[in-house]
Symmetry: C2
Subunit: 135 residues, 2 copies
């Protein structure tokens, strides 16, 4: 997605009306997904929801993340105002990451989704087995 405004005419086909079904909600979801739909962002926010953590702690706790991706993810979240980055001028260096108020509000909004996943994982697993058996 290389443009954020998409000023295209959208070309509705005359007879087959259907104008603007729910443009706004869709756009907002696009926004959200572009920002948090990657592999690690939400994970980091979740962990920082518990308490402040330093770089190495995050890396240890997020099993499988590379140093590079952790750094990038943190920079993204910082840029979006979701976390703060505090560098302590000591040797060896120590950098703490913490949720901002905005970040904490996001966490609240994510919670239902986490709960949903926890509760419905079995259903999904069953659905998959069914589907795979048929086809």
């Amino acid at each position: 997605m290389e443009d954020g405004t998409s000023p295209q005419p959208r070309h509705i086909e005359g007879t087959d009306v259907l104008p603007r079904p729910d443009e706004t909600a869709t756009c907002e979801l696009r926004d959200l997904l572009d920002r948090l739909g990657d592999k690690w962002s939400l994970l980091v926010v979740e962990l920082l929801g518990h308490r402040l953590l330093r770089f190495s702690e995050l890396q240890r706790q997020i099993d499988g993340i590379s140093q590079r991706m952790l750094t990038r993810t943190l920079r993204h979240l910082e840029r979006d105002g979701l976390i703060t980055r505090t560098v302590h001028p000591v040797v060896p260096p120590r950098v703490d990451y913490e949720l901002t108020a905005l970040g904490r509000s996001l966490l609240v909004a994510v919670e239902p989704l986490v709960s949903w996943t926890r509760e419905n994982r079995p259903s999904i697993a069953r659905a998959r087995v069914d589907y795979d058996r048929q086809e």
Copy 2:
């Protein structure tokens, strides 16, 4: 991520304890993101939340999706038991997609996140401007 169970020893470094910070919630989020973190899934669920839609309607309403990706996304959602696919034996063919009960419950869980995005988009935009100006 090629294994879902990750039976690794996790190698905690003796002195620096930190055992299992919040393994479960993290895993659930991983699960969720692997399933819905792609470019289109949540968008489709959102649209089907309003009403039943047929293939061509979805394609028209999701601006920018390719036929291939719409098909793949729908198959995924169907496999996970989030939507149903109904083929009407007519010519030209007509295929309807609809949320299942599970899909509707997901939609409810997603709603807070959509609201959050809508409400905080300005804050994020401002944070970005600030960040970019400094650095």
